[in-house]
Symmetry: C2
Subunit: 228 residues, 2 copies
């Protein structure tokens, strides 16, 4: 029995706003009385399933987003910067292999939460700081090595991440987010009094804190490994 | 000579998120060292000019927006509720006469800022609380009476609000917002060190405060006349 509130964070590493929410929630996990569940899912499936379009297709939105992310990255102390060709990265290459890889890390063995967190962070860092690929097996391995996975774990995950089982699990997580009403990521689902309260984006933390009876203290100092 | 920072708030009364930003900025005007300039403009022109689509056209976004606005209205102490037919209100009836009316109030005489503020609030209250029309001259008069305008002022504004001069002034304010990069409202333009910093939406107050060297204190108590 526990009174900790469960918060599910649905995210995709192709989404920079998801990185902000991810780091903030990882920090608040140690401050609020919450149990944070990382839910890697596929943003492409969310956009298709909800009929939504990425914000970057509107030129003024795209320009604003670049500025907004730079300011937010600095404010939240997350080392975020635009890749040299953001359209190529976001729309052509996408994140399907990366999210399948993360799903396979998650499903591998019990207690893999820490690994999922670390591999997610390394993938975000590749795409949203180092301007590196996240679609090739070699890229995924590199991220997993940096995240501290052993050679045998990586071999196992690489064997499984294109299996039907893993594909289905990613689909099911994505459907789960759609069922909660997702139209983009990050999506935060707070289970309070057995009623899910959903929050979209990385700009509702203060409101979310208020709704779950916790206190928003602004961006906490980064004690995780997000620093370079 | 003054060191007060100028913040322009571009808004349209058809936009409920603009109401939140409007009330919050009216409260912070007395707390931060700022000079708030109200800039009524036409959201329809922003959507057309930027190629953006209203969020409400995606069903999951629409459902989320209803919930989000209810929570935000409560948190910010702004009496916001959905009209019975939000699509009719937002897309069919729209806000062109209302925004022309506000432009005419603004342009009427010097020192009309207080009236613009009060008429704006009454128009938001009609559409986003009382579920009343804001397109007919009688509706606009009613809002202006509640806002404290005199009969002769109202007669003058009603005479002018469909003139070419007022139409052009609203177009010019809307173009001004587009030139700042608007793709929706509210748009906050902070003039700090002679460089405009723009913030979209009613969810960047904390970041904005940080960027202009002020302190975000959460939603302040409502000392304006927004209470019913």
């Amino acid at each position: 029995m526990t009174s900790r509130k469960v918060i599910e964070l649905f995210y995709d590493v192709v989404s920079p706003y998801s990185w902000l929410a991810f780091e903030v929630m990882c920090r608040y996990r140690n401050t609020w009385n919450i149990d944070l569940k990382l839910r890697p899912a596929f943003l492409g499936g969310i956009m298709q399933g909800s009929g939504n379009k990425p914000p970057a297709v509107i030129p003024n939105k795209f320009a604003y987003m670049a500025k907004d992310l730079a300011r937010l990255g600095q404010y939240f102390d997350v080392p975020l910067r635009y890749p040299s060709d953001p359209f190529e990265v976001m729309f052509n290459k996408g994140s399907l292999p990366a999210m399948r890889f993360l799903t396979a890390v998650h499903e591998g063995e019990k207690g893999r939460d820490k690994q999922v967190e670390q591999v997610s962070r390394e993938l975000w860092r590749r795409i949203w700081y180092e301007d590196k690929d996240i679609t090739e097996p070699a890229s995924l391995s590199e991220a997993a090595i940096k995240a501290g996975l052993s050679d045998s774990e990586i071999t196992e995950v690489l064997k499984q991440y294109t299996s039907k089982d893993i594909k289905d699990k990613l689909k099911s997580a994505t459907q789960n987010a759609l069922d909660y009403g997702a139209f983009g990521f990050p999506l935060l689902v707070c289970h309070v009094n057995s009623k899910p309260e959903i929050f979209f984006g990385s700009d509702r933390f203060e409101l979310m804190a208020h709704c779950i009876g916790e206190k928003w203290l602004g961006p906490l100092p980064d004690k995780s490994s997000a620093k370079l």
